[in-house]
């Protein structure tokens, strides 16, 4: 994999695909295992063509057996393979919680450091177009609660190209990566890859003066769009932190930003309660609540299962307009801030463009 230059444009899908291909090519002991990794759809294209190039033993379809296959991946890791396991929807990982939390997370510690189980579990978050209650969940907090697991949420091709090769080559334990289905088709501009330190941390991706946005996954992209909108239509200058490694965020980065801005908005892909929104609030409340010049504002899914009707789905997820509005209100200190909000059209190129069926 060569380091892309500034002018490069890549889709999220292409970035995942590049890293998957490189992983198989660079290490004969890497396998990709999961339902459908070998079919023509190839997990939304992220494993497309790899069966042909590397064969069915290394790009391995499985029966529907999430708990069993996760245990199999773990056992394979104990005997020398590097397994990359896929879940085409995060919702299905609930069938593998025992293996991930009771076994994978503990395999090193529980045996006094005698084992390591390096493996990557790729999990795709679904959203939009009637995915509904069981194809839309975003379970990062369930894993980030548990010591022994590293949980990342790549927000862009950039973070994928930085994180996946690092994890696959160097990280000694299980890593769970939540990818976002809605970003797969989107083109992103690439910057120089940040190298020289572990990407299992958080990143400041925009400097600003008035408010700190801590965001995950697709909400990072929304945050950038909101920040650009506000830069165009107001004097509000947003600083954005891509939380990225939600299990091991860079606390100092967040606190330093907050020290500057005094205002914090957290935007996550899941429910607020017991989620990323709560965890970031813990960090601030425990370490420096005095930095807050206003209450923290949080955005996440509404506290309900995900409905299928578009009219409800549109309310269920925070959108660019909600985010911009919340930022403006937070910075201006009042709801009637008078700042122009993005219109429907400006959102249409992302989630409004997504069409199912899956």
């Amino acid at each position: 994999m060569t380091s892309p230059t500034n002018s490069d444009v890549l889709t999220y899908r292409e970035a995942v695909h590049q890293t998957m291909r490189a992983a198989l090519r660079d290490n004969p002991r890497t396998i990709i295992i999961g339902q459908g990794v070998d079919d023509h759809k190839g997990i939304f294209g992220s494993t497309a063509g790899l069966l042909k190039e590397f064969g069915g033993e290394r790009v391995m379809d499985t029966p529907l057996a999430e708990e069993g296959v996760t245990g199999i991946a773990l056992g394979a890791a104990l005997n020398g393979l590097y397994p990359i396991q896929t879940h085409i929807r995060a919702d299905f990982i609930l069938l593998a919680m025992n293996q991930l939390i009771n076994l994978a997370a503990k395999y090193k510690y529980m045996f006094g450091g005698r084992f390591q189980v390096p493996m990557l579990i790729r999990v795709v978050i679904g959203r939009s177009w009637g995915q509904g209650a069981q194809h839309s969940q975003s379970f990062q907090s369930l894993f980030a609660h548990v010591p022994g697991l590293v949980v990342i949420m790549p927000s862009s091709p950039q973070t994928i190209l930085e994180s996946y090769p690092y994890v696959i080559r160097q990280h000694p334990g299980p890593v769970i990566a939540f990818e976002h289905r809605l970003m797969y088709d989107l083109k992103f501009h690439m910057s120089e890859l940040r190298v020289g330190h572990s990407p299992l941390t958080s990143f400041r991706i925009r400097a600003g003066k008035h408010v700190t946005i801590v965001a995950t996954s697709i909400m990072v992209m929304e945050a950038v769009r909101a920040a650009e909108h506000l830069a165009r239509h107001s004097d509000i200058d947003c600083e954005i932190i891509d939380l990225h490694c939600v299990s091991h965020p860079d606390q100092e980065l967040i606190l330093a930003s907050l020290a500057k801005t005094g205002k914090l908005l957290v935007a996550d892909t899941s429910w607020k309660a017991y989620g990323v929104c709560a965890e970031v609030c813990r960090l601030v409340a425990e370490r420096a609540p005095g930095l807050l010049q206003a209450p923290v504002v949080t955005l996440g899914m509404q506290p309900a299962p995900c409905p299928t009707a578009k009219s409800l789905e549109d309310l269920f997820y925070p959108n660019l307009r909600d985010l911009t509005d919340a930022l403006a209100a937070l910075v201006k200190g009042r709801r009637d801030h008078g700042i122009r909000l993005p219109d429907e059209k400006s959102m249409a190129d992302v989630y409004k463009k997504f069409k199912g069926p899956f």
Partner: protein, 313 residues
């Protein structure tokens, strides 16, 4: 559902029900490009006979638990068509008030107790409902409907074992279409479905001609009789064929996953294709029913914001 005073015979009645499902789903295909149905659809086209033959043997009090591929069961068990179309449209008049979509149909008033998009996850529900039936001395039987892929999952083993252990009045109805998404059975099963059920002492039978609702009806009738008589579980496999792609309205040919010949052999025996006389005879009425359902869906309102946080707890 429109009922005919008298069909000339049972075959035609069953044919009618199967055709009704097929035309309904073909209407979905026609509507899909309009983007009015924003919901992943798993079509039963090719598999209608299983639902029709089975449901015709069931009483209203008998309960069904199904998967995301259950348009056919909803209609065959007597769920109202307008509420289903409205659900696909995401309207508040839908059978799930617009929260369910295609994958979570339900019609408890006729015994369809829920459909889940997590493969195999409703199989234990059927077993549990059968446990409740037994403890409460209800005479109803319960049917778990699932695909061949669902049998890969560990919970299937747990469910068979529990049902057999407690002699519960449950039928395990496996629609074996040979595929789980794009994985063929041979890539997933080291076991044979009926032999596996038999390991738990569960009588197991199969219908090879799953294209024929009458054949399914007869075979399923034997199973229903047995369960009612013995109050113990039975397994039945219906061999069937999914004509469309796993999800959505396309097919599997362009991808090279499946051969056209595989389907054509099946279609050559499919009464809904072969009996164009009957298709012609019944289509107008069914089309009118579907038109009405579409109208109902089109005219119904979207769920409003007050619905968003309703019914959570």
């Amino acid at each position: 559902m429109k009922t005919y005073a008298r069909f000339p015979d049972l075959f035609e009645e069953l044919f009618y029900q199967a055709l009704r499902i097929r035309l309904f789903e073909e209407r979905i295909i026609a509507l899909y490009p309009s983007d009015k149905i924003q919901s992943p659809v798993h079509l039963s086209i090719g598999q209608e006979a299983a639902a029709v033959g089975a449901c015709r043997q069931l009483e209203p009090a008998d309960l069904l638990f199904c998967s995301y591929r259950s348009h056919a069961y909803y209609l065959a068990k007597g769920g109202p068509m307008p509420a289903m179309m409205a659900e696909l449209y995401g309207k508040v008049t839908g059978c799930g008030q617009g929260k369910a979509g295609s994958m979570h149909l339900a019609a408890p008033e006729v015994g369809l107790m829920g459909c889940s998009a997590v493969v195999a996850s409703t199989i234990p529900h059927a077993v549990g409902a059968a446990l409740a039936a037994k403890l409460q001395k209800q005479s109803r039987i319960i049917v778990a409907v699932f695909g061949d892929g669902a049998t890969d999952e560990g919970v299937y083993h747990e469910s068979l074992n529990f049902a057999a252990l407690h002699k519960l009045p449950v039928i395990f109805l496996c629609e074996n279409n040979g595929w789980a998404a794009y994985s063929p059975v041979a890539a997933r099963h080291a076991y044979q479905l009926r032999k596996q059920a038999q390991v738990y002492g569960i009588p197991a039978s199969a219908v090879e001609e799953g294209f024929c609702p009458l054949k399914v009806y007869k075979a399923f009738g034997r199973v229903v009789d047995q369960v009612r008589k013995t109050s113990s579980p039975c397994f039945i496999e219906v061999k069937t064929s999914r004509y469309r792609e796993h999800v959505g309205i396309g097919d599997d040919f362009s991808s090279g996953i499946r051969q056209r010949a595989e389907l054509e052999a099946w279609q050559a025996k499919d009464p809904l294709i072969q009996r164009q006389d009957l298709v012609a005879k019944y289509t107008p009425d069914i089309a009118a029913e579907i038109d009405a359902a579409v109208r109902y869906a089109e005219e119904s309102p979207w769920p409003g914001p007050e619905e968003l946080l309703k019914d959570v707890i």
